[in-house]
């Protein structure tokens, strides 16, 4: 066991974790984040994706102890007016919905790095996430729409 500090969706907490405990399990148990989910256990499906300082992490592969001091964002902690969430909803980018929060976090990472991704860049970025319902077209459209909306907002902010 060791004591670490995590800041999850703005909430800072000290907690004890076992050396081999996964970040996925700690986020679910200690912070009640329902949006990170095990799908494969080997980092191959993306259902457990969270952002650590803006970078996507497969929490099913990550030992929590290594994230002492980290700032972590999960889909259920996004602000109410998050434009990525809004565009996923507007574009019907969900069916069973189980994998979708992982896609939302990947979209956040992508748009953080590359505010106007091309179609190819969107595809490249999402390649590691699996949606078994096959909602890929809607997810793709949602990300493009979020990029457009974010650009318009930034333009207004700088005008």
């Amino acid at each position: 066991m060791r004591e670490i500090e995590l800041k999850v969706n703005g909430l800072r907490r000290k907690l004890g974790v076992a050396d081999d405990e996964l970040l996925l399990d700690v986020l679910r148990r200690e912070f009640g984040t329902t949006s990170v989910r095990e799908g494969c256990g080997v980092g191959a499906c993306g259902a457990c994706t969270a952002l650590v300082s803006g970078k996507s992490v497969s929490t099913c592969l990550s030992r929590a102890a290594r994230f002492d001091g980290a700032e972590i964002t999960t889909a259920d902690g996004l602000p109410a007016d998050d434009e990525v969430v809004d565009e996923f909803v507007a574009n019907r980018a969900m069916q069973c919905g189980y994998c979708i929060p992982g896609f939302v976090m990947m979209a956040h990472e992508l748009l953080g790095e590359n505010p106007q991704p091309t179609d190819e860049e969107v595809v490249e970025h999402l390649e590691g996430n699996i949606c078994r319902c096959g909602t890929y077209s809607e997810i793709h459209a949602a990300i493009k729409a979020a990029a457009t909306r974010r650009a318009a907002k930034n333009e207004r902010a700088t005008a």
Binding site: D76, V85, C96, G97, P101, Y136
Partner: protein, 772 residues
Amino acid sequence: MTTVESRSSVAAVGERWARVDGRAKVRGELQYAADQPVRPCLDVAVHRSTRPHAKITAIDTSRALAAEGVVAVVTGADLYAEFGDRLMTGPAFSDQPCLAYGKVRYVGEPIAAVIAHGAKQAREAAELIEVSYDELEPVHDVDKAVLGAPFVHDELRPSIVFGDLKHLRGKRDTNVNYEYNLRKGDPSSVSGTTVSYDFWCPPTHHVPIELPFAAAWCEGERLELLATTQTPSYVRQSLADLLDLPLNRVRVRTAPLGGSFGAKMYDRLEPLVAALAWTQKMAVKITATREEAFLLTTRHGCAVAGSMTADENGMIVASTSDVRYDTGAYADVGPRITAKSGLVAPGPYKVDNVHVRSRCVYTNKPSAGPFRGFGVPQVTWAHESLADELARQLGEDPVEFRRRNMLREGDIAPVGTPMHSADFLGSLDAVTEAIEWGTPFVKQEGTLVRGRGVAVGMKAVLTPTISNAVVQLNQDGSASLLISTIDMGQGSDTIMAQIAAEVLCLGEGDVRVVQADTDVTPYDTITAGSRSTYHTGNAVRLAAENMRDKLVELAAERFGVVATDIKLTSDGLVSAQTQENVSVSELLHGHFGARGTTLTAEANFSTSWQPYDHENGLSPQVTEHWFAGAAAVQLTVDTATGRVHIEHLAVAGDVGRAINPAMVEQQLSGAAIMGIGHALFDQMVFDEGQIVNGTLLDYQLPSIKDMPDKLTPIIIESPHRTGPFGAKGVGETTIIPLAPAIANAVRDATGVRITQLPLTPERILTALEEQS
């Protein structure tokens, strides 16, 4: 009682209402089964067989029992001592124990369960169990299994669920647990141009991203269970049989499912947690790992030896199919798949001389069960490859050949049942038009060769089945709908609300669907086989109509007019004679004299069939309705690498009437994308009975990178005379013709007919080499 023609300014059916809980799904706040708050549960892990076929001679659980955190270790023999033959469950045959006793029949079969404080402790302790085996000869493939010994089971044990299988009880010395034969005319009596091939589809897995989960505990003298299941009504009966309890002492709760596609139905984890909770009087839960999920159920591997013959006029005159479904160690619903898919093995064509022999075969592999398409994609792979090849050998356009031979409204299908609301022609025309079939295209660019292919799919809906619905209209005018259909992503909660809203003139968001819970929601056979829109949808429509009749009667009383004078609109109830009107809210308040009251109406909808003749397999009504769909594709094959790239995929399905067109399009697209995986790369690989690619690192699934450059879903509406507002289901329709459409395009591009799935680069390169 009168029925009043109502229509208001708001419409529900046919509208693109947003999916219920869409925002909660996107944010990850929706609670799936494993997220639901339940009482603290001990964790269960199982020890699994390392042998494909063996007698269990001894089990040493002492080291596991002594391990840290372990509360109990239970073996199959322990449960058999408690339950006897009741331990054997299964929808068609009572052949599967939740923990093996006496004998194991596949690598990975659970033998003993560890109950511990924490999943990690349980899993570690399960590794400490030692099992001694006396090995038996295994049988790994269907063609060997149909010939005779070794036998996976000593004798057949039909369940009491499907009464038509009871004549098989006690049958010995066979691996064939069911055989369906369709005989019409005499295929050997006709001559013409014949094509024949041996086809193979490997076993595949559903891989819903949500992992299977089940928790169970005793509540006094009752058993309660929360599980990832799409068959709560079935599970309640199955557990009541297992535990020998009346139905009212078993409660099965469900949660929204994170996908299923057939993986989470019938007996999966539920008998195990129920048996453990009941015998140990403990609250227990089990979450399958992805590796374990691969062992719970699969799609049937399937061999088809098929032929098709056309006369000099290009009419199909004969069709034969020898179909062998590999059901693995346990039959699950394989016998139903064998018959219900066997009956469409000739395809959607008018053929006078037909012989189908369809067999369900035990082997020493994980059990195969229902998977989107219910075995029909496997036989469609054969008949649509044959039809395509036959057209090509006749020098004819594959689309024109199909159009000429296709079943049309009123025609009698080879199985003997008339066709209604099965628009093969409309589906075929729509997809071929979408990809511009018939217009020239560049055939070759460097190493890339380009081709187009088409295929049509035909399936019968599960019949007979039973659905019930209860509508509670709240005093404020909102409604609650009680049904046991499970929303696993197909959107049933949304469209059932739309059906109720249409009848009751309610708006978007006014109808809430209550989560299936057998203590609360009424019986529904299953959520499977694309049956819910038609069956449960009809029950919902009827219940809502009963509710409308009740409201009309209350209003007639209130206004002192006859009921035929009353009309329900979105503004409430109005009398045509007096122009008096009253809102639903006021009407119910007036009737009950209180706020927050509820008015309840219910309905049942059951379908019937005429069982097929055991000799010739024919039935004048084998199904309540048909699904019709088609796929057309333009693709390139890289002759240097063997890679297929899909440029345009168009899919169409006849849904009768689209209750929610947006969701229909998602189902059409989603099934097509799953079908791309089956066509190009998706397969379970076994080595001597051991699955070798049972992780998501090794098992390939379609990603966003496998999307066609263009994917066009097309809704065809040929209303069904008894569907709710003409509607039928759709979830499986476009997976059915997908693989043959792609293979036919590969044939068009390369000249090579490949008869084994998936069409991997290696397989394509090998075929190209053999051709040259």
